[in-house]
């Protein structure tokens, strides 16, 4: 009905008919959320009460609020922010999200209530609102925006932005983990992904990325504070802390692998073997009844031994094979991973000495005890109980902090530059006097060392070690976390690891299709976004060599970084 009007209004973009149409859509969406959606209280949390929105309805109200923010930008009254954000693209992504969310909500009501007879008008009002938003926003013209690198805000504003982002992340994570219902969790996921895409499309994330780059120390510390505070939001519930701990162990291992793959460019498909070696050493020296080594040193010593054993294995496998490059290294490391698995499977006393207890592995590994602190007990801090998994979570957080520090320090050091040189052109690097073999070996052994360290804790956290925990698929998963997140960046790996570990845990109803999706995801990522979700800029350029605009931006950012350090000196 508004086609003719909107066509007439194209020449005058603000406040135009499409603007009004979108606004009407937003209002309908929010009003619908205040009305009940269904008669049955048991679905979608509880969406049956008038003027008392349930959690799912609040999500849509948040979408509405963001949409209003974008619409306000388009009135031209907030020129500073409008210059920075492309509100039309943001609105489009947002309205598609809202529409998909509402359609899904109707489908869920139809399937679970069961039948559409149980749907209340509210859900339709919101659906129509969302569709109007789509209709309106897709007619809006995009407006050009300035490159965020050139925008400088007062530093306190930037820090406030970071703090707000981190706080949202903490509460979002705590809320998402709290959802037991698969449908609610998927709706929340849709909302989260949609809002993130909308803000990213509007350019908010490239701006935040620039801010993050400028205030790296603040954001690192802040992220750790958030990660540290997370267990306190869980009120002693072990179910979520167990998932969080698994995510953290996975992420820590992936960070170690990222040094080898992301920085040095050596594709290691047997990395899980190093984790396994650490775990097995730790198990064999534990107080388990099945432990095969009589010597029981304190845990700190065990960690060091486990890490050393892993890195020695890394040297043994690395020193001959690093002379061959590329794909061959990948296959040799894969073969090594298989050798490790088969060996721990075989060493049961009948085939070779009894070290690993064969296919049964070493069960009953006791809880970790450092000094008088037993990791199995529940401790209470500030009145909040922290259970067994929270203890391991904190320990892994410390390990992750160590690995991240090592990672970033190495990345910015002479060694890191050497790795980048090797990764991009080995022959040129050698000609420039980079010690290619030495650096490769260091990356390999160093990565193995970190994995061994993580493994020694993992053994205690898992209570048992068995050969089938350390199969090739796990190596592939680690690699996928890096590829998905973005090679060579810390944030990317953390995102990738979280996505890969958290989603299967929460979306149990797709559990059977988990691996299928995983395989497809790898293929699609390589095809459409090979640099990952949070790419390092240099890496992105490697995959898009003819993107001159990207190259210029990286150059600019680099120059800015240089002048900044010079200014500081």
């Amino acid at each position: 009905m508004t086609t003719t009007q909107s066509r007439a209004a194209v020449s005058n973009p603000r406040p135009s008919s499409q603007w009004l149409l979108t606004l009407v859509g937003v209002v309908l969406l929010v009003v619908g959320c205040l009305l009940p959606w269904a008669f049955v209280p048991a679905i979608l949390g509880n969406v049956t009460v008038l003027l008392y929105p349930g959690a799912m309805q609040i999500l849509m109200i948040i979408v509405g609020a963001i949409a209003v923010f974008f619409l306000l930008l388009r009135t031209g009254r907030f020129a500073a922010a409008d210059r920075l954000l492309d509100s039309a693209r943001g609105l489009r992504a947002l309205s598609v999200t809202a529409a998909a969310f509402m359609v899904l909500a109707v489908v869920i009501i139809a399937m679970q209530a069961p039948g559409l007879a149980n749907a209340d008008p509210g859900v339709y009002v919101s659906l129509v609102g969302a569709l109007l938003m789509v209709a309106g926003s897709f007619r809006m013209p995009s407006d050009p925006k300035v490159d965020p690198i050139t925008v400088h805000l007062p530093s306190w504003v930037e820090i406030v932005v970071i703090v707000v982002m981190l706080a949202i992340a903490l509460f979002g994570a705590a809320y998402a983990l709290g959802q037991e219902d698969g449908t609610i969790f998927s709706l929340f996921l849709l909302f989260l992904a949609g809002s993130v895409v909308a803000l990213a499309r509007a350019g908010l994330f490239s701006w935040i990325g620039v801010i993050a780059q400028r205030n790296r120390r603040v954001i690192t510390l802040g992220a750790f504070a958030v990660a540290f505070l997370f267990p306190f939001t869980q009120n002693g519930s072990d179910a979520n802390m167990s998932i969080a701990t698994q995510v953290l162990i996975f992420a820590t291992t992936a960070l170690g692998l990222n040094i080898v793959v992301g920085l040095a460019g050596l594709l290691d498909l047997g990395y899980i073997a190093f984790l396994g070696a650490g775990a097995y050493v730790s198990a064999m020296m534990s107080h388990s009844a099945f432990a095969t080594i009589g010597w029981k040193p304190p845990f700190i010593v065990v960690v060091v031994i486990a890490a050393c054993v892993s890195s020695i294995l890394g040297l043994i496998i690395g020193s001959p094979t690093l002379r061959v490059s590329g794909d061959y290294l990948a296959i040799v490391t894969l073969a090594f991973g298989e050798i490790f698995r088969l060996t721990v499977n075989n060493l049961d006393g009948n085939n070779g000495p009894d070290l690993t207890n064969g296919p049964n592995g070493i069960p009953g590994i006791p809880e970790l005890e450092i000094g008088s602190f037993n990791f199995g007990d529940t401790h209470t801090l500030l009145g909040i109980p922290l259970g067994r998994f929270a203890n391991y979570y904190f320990l892994m957080l410390v390990v992750a902090a160590i690995i991240i520090t090592i990672f970033t320090r190495l990345n910015n050091s002479r060694i890191g530059r050497g790795w980048v040189a090797i990764r991009e052109d080995e022959k040129a690097a050698e000609a420039m006097g980079v010690n290619v073999f030495g650096l490769k070996l260091f990356a390999f052994a160093g990565g193995a060392f970190l994995a061994g360290m993580a493994g020694s804790i993992k053994a205690h956290q898992d209570v048992s070690v068995t050969p089938d925990q350390y199969i090739f698929l796990e190596s592939a998963f680690l690699l996928a976390a890096i590829v998905l997140g973005g090679m060579g960046t810390v944030a990317g790996v953390l995102v990738g690891a979280t996505v890969l570990k958290l989603l299967p845990e929460k979306l149990r109803f797709v559990a059977d299709y988990r691996l299928l999706t995983f395989g497809l995801l790898l293929v699609l990522m390589m095809r459409f976004r090979p640099e990952g979700l949070v790419p390092s800029r240099r890496r992105a350029l490697e995959f898009h060599e003819d993107d001159t605009k990207l190259a210029e931006r990286i150059e600019e950012a680099h120059l800015e970084g240089m002048t900044k350090t010079e200014g500081r000196a």
Binding site: L267, V324, D327, Y328, I339, N351, A476, D512, M526, P530
Partner: protein
């Protein structure tokens, strides 16, 4: 002595199977310098293709005349999958950094395994493979050694395939084109060779042989499952490297050598490190040793460092 001959026969049988799959790695590598990590899965698809042919059209039949149809079914399935892979996944990445196709291949590998496991009826556990007259059944004794009927089929299949492959490469226009592309793709293109088509043909040839290997594997082990491709693929890759990757005859020799080494390791390595639990370990150790001391492989056509 009998024991030695027996293990030799076992080794050659096993090696023939490896060789059939290894050709697929080496043909593709020789032309596009790509390790088609998903090739093991193509072999697995071949095995399931022949099983599906039998279940759909010949269920209950055991006559030898069924076998050619089963082989055709296997070859069709594996070639179709391989061509699809090449077109959809590898071709768009031809100029991408080397990491990209390899990771894609891992993804495809997992995807194909899972697709078969989830969508092939009953494939969540091992499925029995049809028994065919003459090719399976009671083994017979020659001198002191036991000869299984399926072993004759496997070795025979390798011989026939090798002869056909030799003929194809050296006597047909397409085969000569393949040689030209593997030596210098740019010049070959200038000479009017359709490089894209040659690459597709390379994938198809490898897949056809893998399909035959799939039938052989089924007859040999009398059941198949969705996971057979992983280990077989890894071993066949080892065989290809052993023979010198890129060299087709090298792949055949490498496969046979690897098979014999495995069989001998089971019998002749003394102490507790011998026996079948360790045979895979020795195969992979052989791979690492070969890469260290003779990276160009036994027959060495191409230098490994090219990778």
């Amino acid at each position: 002595m009998d024991q030695f001959l027996q293990q030799l026969l076992n080794g050659v049988t096993l090696g023939s199977l490896y060789a059939l799959i290894a050709v697929g790695y080496t043909v593709v590598y020789g032309i596009v310098q790509l390790i088609n990590f998903a090739h093991g899965e193509v072999f697995m698809i071949g095995a399931f293709g022949s099983l599906a042919t039998w279940t759909l059209f010949f269920k209950g039949q055991t006559g030898l005349w069924v076998l050619p149809f089963m082989i055709i079914g296997a070859v069709l399935a594996s070639v179709a999958v391989a061509l699809l892979l090449e077109r959809v996944a590898y071709r768009p990445l031809r100029n991408a950094p080397r990491l990209a196709p390899l990771i894609t291949a891992i993804g495809i590998s997992v995807f194909l395994q899972e697709a078969v496991r989830l969508f092939y009826p009953g494939a969540k556990s091992a499925l029995p493979f049809p028994q065919i007259d003459l090719v399976t059944g009671a083994a017979f004794q020659v001198g002191g050694i036991t000869v299984r009927r399926s072993a004759i089929f496997v070795i025979g299949a390798l011989v026939v395939c090798a002869v056909l492959l030799w003929f194809f490469i050296n006597r047909t226009k397409m085969g000569r084109g393949m040689l030209a592309v593997s030596q210098d793709p740019d010049t070959a293109r200038l000479m009017g060779i359709n490089v894209d088509r040659i690459i597709a043909v390379a994938f198809a040839i490898g897949a056809a042989l893998a399909g035959v290997a799939g039938v052989a594997q089924g007859l040999q082990n009398s059941n198949i499952d969705f996971f057979i491709g992983f280990m077989a693929g890894l071993k066949a890759f080892t065989a290809a490297v052993l023979g010198g990757i890129g060299n087709i005859y090298g792949a055949v020799v490498g496969g046979l050598v690897l098979g014999v080494v495995e069989a001998m390791a089971v019998q002749f390595i003394p102490g507790t490190f011998g026996g079948s639990p360790w045979k895979d370990v020795w195969a992979f150790v052989l791979l690492i040793v070969v890469l260290v001391f003779r990276p160009q492989g036994l027959m060495g056509a191409r230098v490994v460092d090219r990778a």
